[in-house]
């Protein structure tokens, strides 16, 4: 991917993920999206006089889990600080965040991009409280504090992406990873995963240039598009002898441009200082052991293992690893004895079609929502492999499993789809049809293969579709020669 530019590009991302906790970070209000405005609020998250924050244990655990998965140095002492700025979505007019002692530092993450594996380094990962939401209408702004105080983890990369495409590839891989970790649902549209980007360009070897920050990027595709636009814009400015102004720009997805926020951006002085209301967090060995134990095989490693150990194609492995539930399901099916490649093909094909039909997704595989347990798929594939049923019947049986929530053998038996005819029975049926159609026999003997299909069709009809067409073919060959 040769860059079409004479400049060197430096891109960094600042990602916020909403942690999947039951309650907010500092109070017992539910952490839930989409409820009636101001229905998940209390004196604490509304910043009432006299209230104090009480740190949520689970938020801390999930934070360390992410930090560990991202190969960070884990803080032996984590500390919260007050970040002071006034904004009406921030109920205390300071945000409790981390500054000097975040939970994670110096991490890195590997992802696929441009056909290879790339590594991005993280500057830090820290836990903080989210702000509320506002709707601006006419002369008024409407504040909803349901989101105020929900758990937010901020991940800051080094400015080391060289191409907008890398940033997009990374973001998709990162999203997949936090979903696998079970710490965030990764929904960019609803804002549970948010991404701001910063970009600067400079003549090669000269180091970082003056950066602009781009906000309002609510899909990974927009991250790429906005960065591509912003790089072109900066190039034009520099080529025409201008200077880049350090500023925040908003991505306008309708016009596909970035636009300066043009706010009177007073140099922010957040006046950070240690949060006196929260003691520092000093995890003991048991906590670190628990975090270590909570680690899982990350999607990239799992993909590599699925291709190497099971011979899946990269596309198949990608498809299966996209959702942890699907990957777990696939491996369960294989462990129960199914052929890996067949299982993969089925999961990507017929199973996907059926899930789609009943409004489920591969993320539901292996859950109670999904009638096709790993055992059932394994049995189904087993019957297919043993020639008890053939492909078309197997597909019918699959649909019936979803419709009737029954085991495949039961369905096949009830429906009489069993390839009841053993080879001897089938031979008699074929012989009878050949006897009834002497002309066809002659044609086949004369070298015309077309009438074979006619015979197979007759046999299928006679067996109500249960006969294996391949077996029928070989019997025809044997009887006619």
């Amino acid at each position: 991917m040769a860059a079409s530019t004479s400049y060197e590009t430096f891109i960094g991302l600042e990602i916020h993920i909403q942690l999947l906790t039951e309650t907010k970070i500092f109070c017992g209000c539910k952490s839930k999206f989409g409820d009636k405005p101001n229905s998940n609020v209390c004196p604490v998250c509304l910043g009432y006089p006299g209230v104090l924050p009480a740190l949520n244990e689970h938020a801390v655990e999930l934070s360390y889990k992410v930090c560990r998965a991202m190969n960070c140095d884990l803080a032996k002492e984590g500390m919260f600080e007050r970040k002071n700025y006034f904004y009406p979505d921030l109920t205390k007019n300071y945000q409790i965040s981390q500054f000097e002692k975040p939970f994670g530092r110096n991490g890195y993450f590997e992802y696929e991009s441009g056909g290879g594996i790339k590594r991005i380094r993280f500057h830090e990962i820290h836990l903080e409280e989210d702000a509320g939401k506002m709707i601006h209408q006419g002369g008024r702004s409407f504040c909803d504090y349901n989101r105020a105080g929900t758990c937010l983890l901020e991940i800051v990369t080094e400015p080391e992406f060289k191409e907008p495409q890398e940033a997009e590839d990374f973001l998709q891989a990162f999203r997949r990873t936090v979903r696998h970790l079970g710490v965030c649902d990764g929904n960019m549209e609803e804002g549970s995963l948010r991404c701001d980007a910063n970009i600067s360009i400079n003549t090669p070897g000269a180091g970082l240039g003056v950066k602009t920050e781009v906000k309002n990027l609510n899909s990974s595709r927009f991250v790429k598009k906005a960065l591509q636009y912003e790089r072109r814009r900066q190039e034009k400015v520099l080529k025409s002898g201008g200077k880049i102004i350090q500023e925040t720009r908003l991505w306008d997805e309708d016009k596909s441009v970035t636009e300066s926020m043009r706010t009177k951006e007073e140099a922010h002085d957040y006046r950070y200082f240690p949060e006196p209301d929260l003691p520092p967090f000093r995890p003991d060995q048991a906590f670190f052991d628990m975090i270590e134990k909570s680690q899982i095989e990350l999607p990239l490693a799992r993909k590599q293992r699925l291709t190497e150990d099971y011979g899946l194609t990269p596309d198949q492995a990608d498809y299966i690893v996209e959702e942890k539930a699907a990957a777990d399901y696939f491996e369960a099916v294989v462990a129960l004895g199914a052929d890996a490649k067949t299982a993969a093909k089925w999961i990507m094909g017929n199973v996907a079609k059926e899930l789609n039909r009943i409004d489920l997704s591969k993320a539901d595989l292996g859950t109670e929502k999904c009638a096709l347990s790993a055992e059932r798929l394994t049995k189904l594939l087993g019957m297919l492999a043993d020639n008890k049923i053939h492909g078309k019947i197997a597909a019918q049986t699959l649909a019936a499993i979803f419709n009737e929530d029954k085991d495949p053998e039961v369905i096949v038996k009830e429906q009489g789809w069993d390839s009841s005819a053993d080879e001897g029975d089938l031979e008699k049926i074929v012989q009878q049809i050949l006897d009834e159609n002497p002309r066809v026999v002659e044609q086949i003997r004369g070298g015309d293969q077309k009438p074979r299909g006619f015979v197979v069709g007759k046999v299928m009809k006679a067996t109500q579709g249960t006969a294996n067409p391949q077996s029928v073919q070989s019997i025809i060959g044997k009887l006619i020669g």
Binding site: T23, C27, G28, S39, C42, Y87, P283
Partner: protein, 92 residues
């Protein structure tokens, strides 16, 4: 403190000081800051800063929801509210 600094500080603190007020507070602010200068006499090179007077164990709360029933009462305390939103002049 210089007057400019006072005004920058007031802006950061979101206080709309009248000229008369600024004049009045300027003296008091400077008096106090001059007093703070005394801290420079102390050799602090080997002293760690103290934020929390007593060293404590970790304090964490379990991730269990609290039933709270008075959200509407809380919203109604806002000087202006409508349809469960708290309302202010348009921020943008």
């Amino acid at each position: 403190m210089e007057k400019d600094d006072l005004l920058i500080t007031a802006a950061q603190a979101q206080l709309a000081l009248s000229a008369e007020e600024a004049g009045r507070l300027e003296t008091a602010v400077s008096e106090m800051l001059d007093y703070f200068e005394m801290m420079n006499e102390v050799d602090v090179s080997n002293l760690p800063p103290t934020t929390h007077a007593l060293v404590r164990e970790n304090a964490l709360r379990e991730d269990n929801p609290n039933p709270n029933n008075n959200q509407e009462d809380l919203v109604n305390r806002a000087p202006e509210n409508e349809d469960n939103f708290i309302v202010i002049p348009n921020v943008l």
